[in-house]
């Protein structure tokens, strides 16, 4: 093998400029491929960051407006879901798929602590929500069953809300154990949760029973969230959603197929779709990258053809003294693969460096849209898998680039090769 590389080195050394110019095209191709895939990954990560924070097997629904006349009632009627819907959702009718069902009530208000106040959205929640929405507790705890049973006036405050209530530059944990005022009542802060980047509002969570009682919500609730199992594809999910919609709609005297009477938000199918979009994006980027690389490969193929032409006489000598066709093919192929691999790796290295740079710059920035902070790129880098795939691509590309020139070199008859000059 060392002999083969000595031969390649001798050949490349004689054509430094030509080799490096072509090599640049290969480097550029791989560089583009890596940067594109890195940026694509960043985009996908930013995309799915919202989705990631929920348990993927939850569904949520709430009341909407009817869009169809049904049972003697006109369209455009407001549907309000209530406690009976919670019971219905948790009943035997759906027991095959539904596990936990919880309801939420929410109201807007103003929270005040010492001399600062902010407008907040207060949600009456059950303890299970912490798991369903993967709420991260930074300090203290979340709502628990005793809070629900005792209708305790306790709250879990989001980090950014807590910081807004405290004097500037005071850490959020300072609010733990303190009392804040919302409306006419005082609540004990029992926990600080991580701010939810997807929701811009200042969030405060309180026990469901407390909010329902204080704000006199009666039977009405805002939305119902439940976890489910056994629905593994889009079809199964759609069938299940239709069944659920029909049941709830009928209870509210709405057409069973009225998609606006209640809205259903299925995180599982949403994730599925997001993944699908992500993989389409990935495929598109691979295609663009590979086409960029193709330019480089054609270049390598081209110089290999020139090399073969220039060295025909030499190959004739080699054949005369006993080189088999495969010896000649091997010479050209390994040279082609070596050029592609070496310059490809340079491109890959620079590409990964650029991805890291992207991560350090754009990856840390975010844009504000309607008070929501949205990251443009999250971790826009490629993994080892892409590096391995790119290596395979390079080897295939190099063989492809060398194949026709090598065949040409091997096929020329020694007597003709010897005559060539």
């Amino acid at each position: 093998m060392k002999d083969v590389f000595t031969e390649i080195w001798e050949s490349i050394r004689r054509n430094k400029l030509r080799t490096s110019l072509t090599g640049f095209a290969v480097s550029w191709g791989i560089f583009m491929l890596i940067v594109l895939l890195g940026a694509g990954n960043g985009l996908r990560n930013a995309f799915s960051q919202g989705g990631d924070q929920f348990a993927s097997n939850t569904m949520m629904y709430g009341g909407g407006w009817t869009s169809k006349a049904f049972d003697g009632l006109k369209e455009g009627r407001r549907i309000r879901i209530d406690e009976k819907d919670v019971q219905l959702t948790g009943s035997d009718a759906f027991a095959a798929h539904i596990d936990d069902v919880i309801a939420t009530v929410s109201t807007d208000g103003t929270a005040t602590y010492s001399n600062k106040s902010v407008s907040v959205s207060i949600e009456g929640n059950y303890p299970q929500r912490a798991k369903m929405e993967k709420i991260e507790i930074l300090e203290g705890r979340y709502i628990n069953d005793k809070d629900i049973a005792g209708k305790r006036k306790v709250v879990v405050v989001a980090q950014n809300t807590a910081e807004a209530l405290l004097p500037d530059l005071t850490p959020a944990r300072e609010l733990l154990g303190k009392h804040i005022k919302i409306g006419n009542f005082s609540y004990l802060v029992v926990g600080i949760s991580k701010s939810d980047r997807m929701r811009g509002n200042n969030m405060i969570a309180a026990p469901f029973s407390t909010i329902k009682t204080i704000y006199n919500k009666g039977e009405d609730i805002d939305d119902i969230t439940f976890t489910f199992h056994g629905l593994n594809n889009e079809k199964a999910n759609e069938d299940f959603e239709n069944q659920l919609r029909a049941t709830i709609n009928l209870r509210h005297r709405a057409a069973p197929d009225d998609k606006r009477a209640i809205w259903i938000w299925n995180r599982f199918t949403q994730n599925l779709q997001m993944n699908k979009v992500g993989s389409i994006l990935n495929v598109a980027l691979w295609i663009i990258g590979l086409f960029t690389l193709l330019g480089g490969i054609v270049g390598v193929s081209n110089i290999m053809l020139i090399t073969v032409k220039e060295r025909t006489h030499e190959f004739g000598i080699r054949k005369a003294i006993g080189a088999k066709p495969w010896d000649i093919t091997k010479l050209i192929l390994t040279e082609s693969i070596s050029i592609t691999a070496v310059f490809g790796y340079i491109g890959m290295f620079l590409g990964m460096l650029t991805c890291e740079l992207l991560d350090k710059t754009i990856g840390q920035a975010s844009v504000s849209i309607m008070d929501e902070k949205i990251a443009m790129l999250v971790n826009p880098t490629v993994g080892l898998d892409v590096a391995i795939e790119a290596t395979i691509v390079l080897i295939i590309a190099g063989s492809l680039a060398g194949f026709f020139p090598a065949r040409k070199a091997a096929k020329v008859r020694p007597i003709e090769a010897l005559r060539a000059e």
């Binding site: 060392k2 002999d3 001798e10 004689r14 006489h313 030499e314 004739g316 000598i317 080699r318 054949k319 005369a320 003294i321 006993g322 080189a323 088999k324 066709p325 495969w326 010896d327 091997a410 008859r413 020694p414 007597i415 010897l418």
Partner: protein, 240 residues
């Protein structure tokens, strides 16, 4: 018989069919020092190419050491060339970016001989031809005679059955030509190497022990030249 040609015919079909070899019958024994002599267009180069398994023939039979050389695959032909034949060319055909010793090693490289072993052997052959000091020089740093001696070393290193020399003195001056021919003669005498020289120069042919005349694709007279008296210019010079 080391070499046996029986009614070998060769026609080139480049537009007008050209019947180059018209039934060649030739026997060459082991240890012979033969020249094939003819004018240009006589078919001597074609004959050499067939002898060297660089070209194939249409009809007839060609045996080397009892082995029929016919319809071989490129791979097989390469293998036979490598093991049975050593070539010496008019234009030396050394590889320009390889040093003298690397050029000599190349034949062994294709036999799969290890790096150190073939290097040692190549040095030994260069030394034998008085070129040990030139081993690491490139061909363009050497004189014509030196280059041809490197080529001879390369031909000899695989210990082939036949050495085929195609106008070995064609690119050399008369003094060097003489030296090269004397070297070939000595190799034949002292080591019993079978050598076939193709030439159009009678002086060169005169250095060999047997002269095969070829004309218009047919073998004419076969002269016994052990007295080295064939040249009209005298026995000891190669006229340029």
């Amino acid at each position: 018989m080391l070499i046996e040609l029986r009614d070998v015919n060769k026609t080139y079909n480049n537009g007008q069919p050209l019947h180059v070899l018209k039934g060649i019958n030739l026997n060459i024994d082991k240890g012979e020092f033969v020249s094939i002599m003819g004018a240009s267009g006589s078919g001597k180069s074609t004959l050499l190419n067939i002898l060297g398994i660089l070209d194939n023939y249409d009809t007839g039979e060609y045996y080397i050491d009892g082995r029929l050389i016919k319809g071989l695959s490129e791979k097989q032909a390469a293998d036979y060339r490598n093991h049975l034949i050593g070539f010496i060319f008019q234009s030396f055909n050394l590889i320009g970016f390889k040093t003298a010793v690397e050029n000599v090693e190349l034949s062994l490289f294709y036999q799969g001989v290890s790096r150190s072993k073939r290097h040692a052997l190549a040095m030994q052959y260069l030394d034998k031809l008085g070129l040990a000091d030139w081993a690491s020089h490139y061909p363009n740093e050497m004189s014509g005679g030196q280059k041809q001696r490197v080529a001879i070393a390369r031909a000899l290193i695989t210990n082939p059955k036949i050495i085929l020399a195609d106008e070995p003195t064609g690119a050399l001056d008369s003094k060097t030509s003489e030296e090269v021919m004397q070297l070939l003669g000595r190799l034949n005498r002292e080591e019993g190497v079978t050598i076939i020289v193709v030439t159009h120069e009678s002086g060169v042919a005169n250095c060999t022990n047997k002269i095969v005349h070829i004309k218009d694709g047919v073998i004419g007279q076969i002269e016994d030249n052990r007295q080295h008296s064939a040249s009209v210019f005298g026995t000891s010079t190669i006229m340029k």
